[in-house]
């Protein structure tokens, strides 16, 4: 049994890992040069409680199931996760019934411990919240996670259990050859599969439509974010929502597990599914609306901006299951709360596929993944031991985030490992701090060239075509 998974975002990697519990050959095809290069690298990182989704929807079901899995999953796979709780803030008395309605809906979805707090009580706990806030829905089960940290953890564990990751493989055709489904890639390579699992994010409709007569349509919904310096992280400890709008959950002020605070996202439907440019208007909107929640926000604290695209299926719900055509399983339209839902979705997908193909469980599956060493978070004793074992942990490369050469080398040597500056950044946080790589970029280029055995002029930011330098000084 050969399974080809298209897409190495959080869904593709989670599905790969859960399928690797079974006796099958699994290949993941990814068009970029690393995992977590699309939606999974640029979203709010919120593990939603589950009160937003319409009761009875797939979104509601998998959100609540997924949320409950995070404590044990983060320990098992060694990624950062924290239940920081969330508030949905309400700015006028008239809207309080909407808030109450949300609480009722949450109850129906199975969300526990929801409470409505007064503005005063909220400001006791979150003292930077606007005094215009009159009430809020408190959801203590809401959490935060590094979306790419989680994706990488899934991918590494999948690889450790035999999943093969193939990068720079943009799927350009799907067809049948006998009983097999044939996946053709832009570079001319072909993969035969008994089953193709479509985890292609914003391109999930394209993949489905290559094989299936029942067409799907995904709209890329752009969300722009701003990241604040760690020195401004006191502005929010819980995730702060405003009452939801038609297009989503509105603008958040949300802490990250890395210790920063993020503002965003906006929600604008776009035609170009690969365009992650930020816009003046979008950034201004994100900032202005976030100021409604926390009026004291300072634009001076912003250290970077980015855009993510959500895969919005026109039906409005997740589409998970065997496609009406042979040899294809769709996991598409996984927009928010997709990150939260991903662990539960993956378990469901693996179990359905294993039943359909009578796959046996493997006895040698290893569920645990060792988290990479994180020098900045270690005690002095742990640091001393690490340096004694490998002196490269005594060389600080990224001064803003205190990331050592040892951690960078580890990130490159893992499977699947970092191949470029962005890959290093997502795995170690090097270059993610207040100087945004100003000091450490040349040094990380040297380390990448040395470890990958390539020329330093071939080192890229995010795959071929994004070389940092154009050549040597003559």
């Amino acid at each position: 049994m050969q399974i080809v998974i298209i897409g190495a975002g959080v869904i593709g990697c989670a599905v790969a890992r859960e399928l690797s519990r079974y006796d099958a050959k699994i290949v993941v095809l990814e068009k970029e040069d690393d995992v977590a290069c699309g939606t999974s690298k640029a979203n709010s990182g919120v593990v939603h409680a589950g009160f937003d989704a319409k009761p009875g929807s797939q979104k509601a079901k998998f959100n609540v199931l997924g949320n409950a899995m995070f404590d044990s999953l983060s320990a098992e796979l060694g990624f950062s996760f924290r239940r920081n709780g969330a508030y949905v803030l309400c700015f006028s008395q008239e809207d309080i019934p909407v808030l109450e309605q949300l609480a009722v809906q949450g109850g129906r979805n199975g969300v526990k411990q929801l409470e409505i707090h007064t503005g005063a009580k909220i400001r006791e706990r979150e003292k930077y919240v606007s005094d215009q806030v009159v009430a809020g829905l408190w959801a203590p089960t809401s959490g935060i996670v590094s979306p790419y940290g989680m994706t990488i953890a899934y991918a590494e564990n999948a690889a450790a259990n035999g999943v093969e990751f193939c990068f720079c493989k943009q799927v350009s055709s799907l067809g049948y050859r006998g009983a097999k489904t044939v996946v053709g890639c832009l570079d001319g390579s072909e993969y035969e599969a008994d089953l193709v699992v479509n985890c292609a994010g914003v391109h999930g409709d394209d993949v489905n439509n290559m094989l299936c007569a029942d067409k799907l349509q995904i709209v890329a919904r752009k969300g722009e974010y701003m990241l604040l310096d760690k020195t401004a992280s006191q502005v929010a400890s819980a995730t702060l929502f405003q009452l939801p709008t038609k297009k989503g959950k509105g603008i958040l002020v949300v802490p990250t597990v890395g210790g920063n605070v993020m503002l965003g996202p906006t929600a604008v439907d776009v035609d170009d599914k690969d365009c992650t440019d930020t816009t003046r208007e979008g950034l201004a909107e994100a900032f202005d609306k976030a100021c409604k929640t926390v009026p004291s926000l300072s634009a001076k604290a912003v250290i970077t901006q980015f855009t993510g695209l959500r895969a919005h299926l026109t039906t409005g719900d997740f589409e998970i299951g065997f496609a009406p055509c042979k040899g294809l399983y769709n996991v598409v339209g996984i927009e928010s709360p997709g990150l939260t839902a991903s662990p539960a979705i993956a378990v469901e997908v693996a179990s359905e596929i294993s039943r359909a193909y009578s796959l046996a469980k493997r006895s040698d599956f290893v569920a645990h993944r060792d988290a990479p060493p994180c020098f900045a978070k270690m005690t002095d004793d742990e640091r001393a031991r690490l340096i004694a074992a490998d002196p490269l942990y005594g060389k600080v490369v990224c001064r803003c985030e205190t990331i050592t050469e040892g951690e960078i080398v580890d990130a490159i040597r893992r499977t699947p490992g970092a191949k470029d500056l962005d890959g290093i950044k997502r795995r170690t946080r090097a270059g993610m701090g207040r100087c945004q790589g100003g000091f450490c970029t040349p040094r990380i280029m040297e380390i990448l060239a040395r470890e990958l055995g390539c020329d330093i002029t071939e080192v890229t930011k995010s795959g071929k075509g994004s070389e940092i330098v154009i050549g040597r000084v003559e």
Partner: protein, 417 residues
């Protein structure tokens, strides 16, 4: 835990000068901690000339200027640990790490912070657009070219006409790149006229004032930037956008003192300079902890960094030798065109002459810099021109300084002559 009388954080021009002066003031137990593999700091990559006219009365390149101080430090046998990063300071204990010694804690009697500054990144100025490769801070590009011998790009737009931006325009041109424009948000340049003439005009590189970059385009690599004129409130004017094809955008949009360690240590910082608030011995709000050079406030000339740092080093040595009671301070405010003056505090119990360094907010001609104590002019200095790009100084005689030390209120301001 090891004991050291004086720990100097940073082995650039500030740290080296502080070490030299501390030694010459009698201190022998000194350790410099430098995170790079060699001392000299940012001067190592500033290969252009123009350094040292005040200090050495000759024009040196950055590496030559650094080497002079390195030789002074070496001749005194002062210990310097390179490749060593300071992780934290607490209770005058410095935690640092390197590959050879691992994690080390030094308990110091005095500490001099001389860790320099960093460049403001793209994110801090909120330029919209793509995340493609090809956007560099000017200093990163300078390091790539001058130290690593790597070429960042061949068609370049530079945002910011401070000296680093101007110097990089010439450097890239020398290496065969086409610098298409230097874009400056303000209606004037904060760079030296000499650099405008010799780095831009010599090569017919256009300098466009009151413009900014509003978008960066490209998929994997920058393909163009969009520039636009700005109004008097520095907001882009709709309809003035113009696209310039390029593969590289260099940002030279300001320097920020690198004070994260000071912040976590609880040292009081000035919101104007981004550096510590210091007294006339350059001591911060933590007793026995001194600051000098670009970590205190961003300087225009390295000569002034050296001068200030020698004062900090000598003060630290004196503090170790004598310790002693600290007297009250008079605070020196800044107004009417003066953005800040350093030191911000003067000890009432001190003696002798005093010097202040300051920056103005905008260009002014035929003015005087005035120190007023309790509403009375105590000292002044006439200036034909003052500009935001150049640091100004005001020196007080011992007698004037005594008046200041006895004053209730003091302020430095610009006045018309």
């Amino acid at each position: 835990m090891m004991d050291k009388n004086l720990i100097i954080v940073g082995g650039g021009p500030a740290g080296l000068a502080a070490a030299k002066a501390a030694y010459d003031a009698g201190e022998r137990d000194i350790l410099i901690l430098e995170r790079e593999d060699r001392a000299g700091g940012i001067l190592n990559q500033c290969i252009h000339n123009g350094f040292g006219l005040h200090t050495f009365k000759e024009e040196l390149t950055g590496p030559e200027y650094a080497a002079r101080y390195e030789r002074e430090v070496a001749a005194r046998g002062i210990e310097i640990k390179t490749g060593t990063t300071v992780l934290s300071i607490a209770d005058k204990t410095v935690a640092c790490v390197n590959a050879e010694d691992g994690l080390t804690h030094y308990r110091a009697k005095a500490i001099v912070l001389a860790c320099g500054c960093r460049e403001r990144p793209r994110g801090a100025i909120n330029i919209a657009g793509c995340r493609a490769a090809g956007v560099f801070s000017a200093g990163t590009a300078q390091k790539l070219i001058n130290i690593d011998g790597l070429m960042p790009g061949k068609e370049v737009v530079i945002l910011g006409s401070g000296d680093i931006g101007l110097i990089m325009a010439r450097r890239m041109t020398f290496q065969g790149a086409k610098v298409k424009a230097v874009i400056e948000l303000m209606p004037y340049s904060s760079g030296l006229n000499r650099n405008i003439v010799q780095c831009l005009q010599d090569f017919d590189i256009p300098l466009r004032f009151s413009h900014t970059v509003v978008a960066i385009n490209g998929k994997k690599r920058v393909s163009s930037v969009v520039v636009a004129a700005v109004d008097e409130k520095l907001r882009p004017i709709a309809g003035t956008e113009e696209e310039i094809a390029c593969d590289t955008l260099l940002l030279s949009v300001g320097l920020l003192p690198e004070n994260e360690i000071a912040k976590t240590y609880g040292i009081e910082l000035s919101p104007v300079t981004g550096g510590a608030i210091v007294d006339d011995a350059l001591m911060t709000s933590k007793e026995g902890v001194f600051a000098c050079g670009n970590v205190l406030h961003v300087h225009d000339l390295v000569d002034f960094v050296s001068e200030e740092s020698e004062r900090a080093g000598a003060s630290a040595a004196a503090y170790i030798a004598r310790g002693g009671e600290l007297s009250d301070c008079v605070a020196i405010g800044a107004k009417d065109g003066v953005r800040y003056a350093v030191p911000q505090l003067v000890r009432r119990g001190g003696e002798g002459a005093l010097g202040f360094k300051m920056r103005v907010g905008k260009v002014a001609k035929d003015v005087k810099i005035v120190l007023e104590c309790d509403g009375r002019e105590v000292a002044s200095r006439r200036r034909q021109i003052v500009t935001p790009g150049e640091m100004e100084t005001l020196t007080l005689t011992a007698a004037q300084a005594q008046i200041l030390r006895g004053a209730k209120e003091a302020v430095i301001r610009l006045a018309e002559v």
